[in-house]
């Protein structure tokens, strides 16, 4: 086994274990902390693919900003197992089936994909570095990129509108 393989298996185990613990742990705060570990493991995978920019942005945006807000809300509401409302059985069942369907689709997509046997990009592959990413985004995919930025802008305006209404 090479060192990248050891890292790959270690990170995959960590990611899966923490992902299971997100669902399984009783306390919401623990769930969130495990979710942060998942993001870190996934960032580790990005680094193995030499996608450094994506890895670091994943940590800044998800682990650093969004999860802090999650933690904020959970701490302020002081959620725990006793105060959690009992969910409808049928709803739980529906959730299970729809989640399972998504899982199946994802697995079949990954199996069909070209790089299924090439999970680690060794050396040379520098397409994930910020310069190449920028060139691709602003040359080949300008229109989708701009459209998604408009989407973000509308989301920001939406939050401001909702925030104003509450006052």
């Amino acid at each position: 086994m090479s060192i990248t393989e050891i890292l790959f298996w270690g990170l995959s185990f960590l990611a899966l274990f923490s992902a299971i613990m997100v669902v399984a742990s009783k306390s919401p705060v623990h769930s969130i902390l495990f979710l942060i570990v998942v993001f870190f493991a996934i960032s580790g995978h990005y680094i193995l693919l030499n996608a450094q920019f994506l890895a670091i942005v994943n940590i800044i945006v998800y682990a650093g900003a969004i999860m802090v807000l999650f933690l904020f809300v959970v701490m302020l509401m002081n959620l725990n197992a006793e105060s959690e409302p009992k969910k409808n059985r049928i709803l739980q069942f529906a959730g299970l089936i729809s989640g399972g369907c998504l899982f199946l689709v994802l697995i079949s997509a990954i199996i069909k994909s070209v790089s299924a046997n090439n999970l680690v990009q060794m050396g040379g592959g520098d397409y994930g570095l910020i310069k190449n990413l920028g060139i691709v985004l602003f040359k080949d995919y300008v229109i989708p990129f701009e459209i998604s930025s408009v989407l973000f802008l509308s989301a920001i305006i939406g939050t401001v509108v909702i925030g104003k209404k509450a006052e």
């Binding site: 902390l33 450094q52 900003a65």
Partner: protein, 350 residues
């Protein structure tokens, strides 16, 4: 061979890591001494002068005292998270040192050894990621304390850090547009060849400096531990060395952010008015390190000077400054910088 690893490379990096960690700990230790001395000078007192000549052993005495104090973990808190809090604070404070270039290459044992642990492609973003993880140390610790003052302090710290990160990021974008690179080493090399970035980005530096004060939870932004409202803030329930870790990580953060500012805006290990290439490599690395440390000590002095001069903000003033003044100012700075770069590209013709 099971694992093909360059042993010399591993040893080289390990030695470098140990030196950087030890150095930041020792410097943080003497920053506490410096803080007390500077406070004393500004308040016309003598400051610590009992332990050793000029009180130079005071930080050692403080550390020993913290170790010997009784350790108390509150009954109703999650013990694991209670210990995780200060550990995270310390860990994130130390991790930033990994991407900082402490000097140029030195030549030893027939090897060129770079005085930087890792020259990653996304250097400054790595620093940002680690800084944004710093919130967790405070939030986890404050929540695990199971005390409303701690929780209030933790929430204040978290919202403050998130708010000021935005302005800090935007002020950095303007700098990145000029340098065109994220690697800290590249930035230093550019400043060695040309002028320091402070001359291109004075407003950006000011915004960055204010945000650095807020990110380090230093006065005038230390609302997370406002004694007269929140007892001790997020570390109310902590005692012994865990409290020491929280207090200590603040000083390491201050040191690291001074190094970052020196690297980004003041040329890093660049010695002004001197062409380094003309002299011996090893000596230049040493003098470069001394130059960097001189800049860092000046910035740390600025941190302390401000702390003992300016009173603490009110919380609404803090939020107003962050969202209504600093972010628009940083955006304005970014737009002006972008416009000037465009004009320069078209040879100053509209």
């Amino acid at each position: 061979m099971l694992l093909a690893i360059d042993l010399a490379f591993i040893i080289e990096k390990l030695v470098l890591i140990v030196i950087v960690v030890m150095a930041s700990l020792v410097i943080a230790m003497y920053a506490t001494y410096g803080e007390r001395k500077i406070a004393a000078i500004l308040q016309d007192r003598r400051g610590p002068n009992r332990a050793g000549p000029f009180g130079i052993l005071q930080p050692v005495a403080d550390g020993l005292k913290l170790f010997f104090k009784e350790e108390i973990i509150p009954d109703f808190s999650s013990k694991f998270l209670f210990i995780l809090g200060p550990s995270m604070a310390m860990l994130t404070a130390i991790m930033t040192g990994a991407v900082i270039p402490w000097g140029n290459k030195i030549h030893f044992f027939n090897r060129d050894i770079s005085l930087q642990i890792a020259d990653v492609n996304v250097g400054i973003l790595y620093v940002f990621a680690v800084v944004s993880m710093g919130v967790y140390g405070i939030m986890i610790g404050s929540w695990a304390s199971n005390n409303k003052y701690s929780l209030m302090g933790g929430l204040r710290a978290a919202s403050q850090i998130i708010s000021y990160e935005l302005a800090m990021g935007i002020s950095l974008i303007a700098l990145l547009m000029i340098t065109g690179t994220l690697s800290l080493k590249e930035m230093v090399a550019q400043q060695q060849a040309g002028y320091w970035n402070i001359f291109y980005q004075p407003l950006g530096f000011l915004i960055f400096l204010i945000c650095a004060f807020a990110e380090c939870n230093r006065t005038p932004f230390d609302l997370a531990e406002a004694e007269n409202e929140l007892i001790g803030g997020y570390h109310t329930e902590y005692s012994s060395m865990k409290l020491g870790f929280y207090l200590f990580s603040e000083y390491i953060n201050m040191f690291v952010s001074s190094v970052i500012m020196a690297t980004l805006f003041f040329g890093g290990y660049d010695i002004p008015f001197l062409n380094e290439a003309n002299y011996d490599q090893n000596w230049m690395a040493l003098f470069g390190l001394i130059a960097l440390m001189t800049k860092v000590i000046c910035l740390i002095f600025l941190f302390m000077w401000v702390r003992w001069t300016i009173p603490r903000f009110r919380y609404d003033q803090l939020m107003n400054l962050g969202w209504r003044i600093l972010i628009p100012l940083a955006l304005f700075n970014m737009l002006v910088t972008g416009a000037l770069i465009l004009l320069k590209q078209s040879n100053w013709h509209f």
